[in-house]
């Protein structure tokens, strides 16, 4: 009996091959029994690890495992994927197909010979639902009970699955056209008046979109001895680091490293950058700022202070205003840094003068 393990190719074959290593070039296959054994071993190993760390084996979570492994096997390797890991075999061994044909060689699924059986069966199912809904609509129209219910536009809280997620779901490779076709069919289905079952079917392919501003943690206000509110913020830009303390009541004075801002930043552009967060919130003469900055040049120091001040101001304002500041680009750290010089070129991008001979 031949080994009937039609399983997707999992690992890349090694680049250097010798004649003796022909066996290694074969597709590595993981049987179901192998995976089960790995899962059992993982669970036993998890309990052993919990005992070793002196914790309760029943309530030992994945984060605890990660912490224990980093403690027991400290690694200084830069590549995170090369460090020792201990995860559930489901996450390590990629998902594979079970055997898709029986003893006689006949495939189980009726769409096996299309090559992408899960994808086509999904399309088939979705289209069947579309036809079913349209048939129901026709019946209602024939009876005269049909009412044109306007479909409420879905507010932005969810998005369609992306191609990679769909591939992972179906355990099959898809092309861009396949994916586009599928999304178009789902949109067509969602545009029609659907039942609960159809809504649930469409809901399986939608993911929630996070609202970005929720990711920011707003520090609460602090109060000093006199009872005046103040708040601190940190900012970075290129190699400049800044820390700003914004006081609740003031006259618009800004002090940097003990020096007045007019003396520290003789250039107008830098002072405009310092004023930007205050001007945006219409709070120009109402706050006092004391800040320290180090590193970088004049422009990056100004940018770092701007970010620190904007972050500190978040404690004084409403959530809506925080969102406005974020959309104006005041709360994002600028990721642009100096690009390194490459060998064979004069600078980061500039090449040497090209000479024909």
């Amino acid at each position: 009996m031949r080994s009937t393990c039609q399983i997707l190719r999992l690992k890349h074959s090694p680049a250097v091959t010798t004649k003796k290593n022909v066996a290694a070039l074969r597709r590595e296959s993981y049987t179901v029994d192998f995976i089960k054994k790995q899962i059992e071993e993982f669970n036993i190993g998890k309990r052993h690890l919990a005992n070793m760390m002196g914790e309760d084996p029943e309530t030992f979570t994945q984060e605890d495992i990660d912490r224990a492994i980093t403690y027991l096997f400290p690694s200084g390797l830069f590549e995170k994927r090369a460090r020792p890991i201990m995860k559930h075999p489901e996450e390590i061994f990629p998902k594979q197909r079970a055997i898709q044909w029986g003893e006689d060689g006949r495939p189980f699924h009726f769409l096996f010979y299309t090559g992408k059986q899960s994808y086509y069966s999904l399309m088939h199912e979705a289209y069947g639902k579309v036809l079913h809904v349209e048939e129901r609509q026709d019946q209602l129209r024939a009876k005269g009970l049909f009412s044109e219910k306007p479909k409420t536009k879905d507010p932005i809280g969810s998005r369609w699955l992306i191609k990679e997620e769909l591939e992972e779901m179906l355990v099959e490779k898809l092309s861009d056209q396949d994916y586009a076709q599928f999304i178009r069919l789902l949109e067509r289905l969602s545009a029609l008046p659907c039942d609960a079952a159809e809504e649930e079917f469409v809901g399986r392919f939608r993911r929630t979109v996070t609202v970005q501003s929720k990711k920011h943690l707003i520090e609460p206000l602090q109060y000093d001895e006199q009872g005046m509110a103040f708040s601190t913020g940190r900012g970075k830009r290129k190699t400049a680091n800044a820390e700003a303390v914004v006081h609740g009541h003031g006259s618009g004075k800004i002090e940097i490293n003990g020096v007045d801002y007019l003396l520290y930043f003789p250039v107008t552009q830098d002072r405009e950058q310092l004023m930007f967060p205050f001007h945006f919130l219409d709070r120009l003469g109402k706050h006092d700022v004391t800040c320290t900055v180090s590193g970088g040049g004049r422009s990056s120091q100004a940018g770092a202070i701007r970010l620190a001040v904007a972050r500190a101001l978040c404690s004084f304002i409403t959530e809506d205003e925080v969102e406005w500041m974020r959309q104006a680009g005041l709360l994002t750290t600028d990721p642009r840094v100096r690009e390194r010089k490459k060998p064979g070129q004069e600078g980061a991008r500039r090449k040497f003068t090209w000479k024909k001979r």
């Binding site: 992306i162 979109v209 552009q269 950058q273 680009g329 994002t332 490459k342």
Partner: protein, 181 residues
């Protein structure tokens, strides 16, 4: 010497990333023109009035756009942009083009000196002129600059015209020439 295809490992400093789409990347090829921001990052909107507009006055498209922007990651505002009313994008662009060797201080000071000189000249003319002429003299240097830029734009240009199955490059725009002069 052929530039090696350098693949730069991008390390983000404290940024929340969206899903990094590899839509424009062909396998086996490394992009040379890249940006520190991922493709999902949107440009910031620094105009104060855009945010101060009350919700009741917004159209459906604008409310949809607002909701959409709440879910998008935004780039940091550049150092040259502020929400100031005195900022003019045309003047900023012109200053950047005047700049040599990254000397923005010099370029900007030259620009402000020029605008001030224009304003002074116009005011001298204004004070020396009679009441009827005073109404025609433009004193705002920014409007003068914009008008000067518009005057410098080409009036006639080459246009491909199909004649007898072939495309010939012919001049067009003659009609507006007389009005312009």
């Amino acid at each position: 010497m052929a530039a090696p295809t350098v693949k730069v490992a991008l390390g983000w400093s404290g940024l929340g990333l969206g899903v990094r789409r590899a839509a424009l990347r062909l396998p086996g090829l490394v992009q040379v023109r890249w940006s520190r921001y991922g493709p999902e990052y949107q440009d910031p909107q620094t105009d104060k009035e855009y945010y101060r507009k009350p919700l009741a006055q917004l159209t459906e498209e604008e409310t949809y756009e607002r909701e959409l922007r709440k879910t998008q990651v935004i780039k940091a505002a550049p150092a040259t942009k502020t929400c100031s009313v005195f900022e003019d994008p045309v003047i900023s662009k012109f200053t950047n083009m005047m700049m040599k060797g990254g000397n923005k201080i010099l370029a900007r000071s030259l620009m402000t000196q020029t605008l001030e000189a224009v304003k002074r000249k116009q005011f001298e003319k204004y004070h020396a002129a009679s009441a009827e002429e005073q109404a025609t003299i433009e004193r705002n240097p920014y409007t003068i600059f914009h008008q000067a830029l518009k005057n410098c734009e080409p009036v006639i240009g080459l246009v491909p015209i199909l004649k007898g199955g072939h495309f010939y490059q012919e001049w067009s725009g003659w009609e507006s020439r007389a009005a312009h002069v």
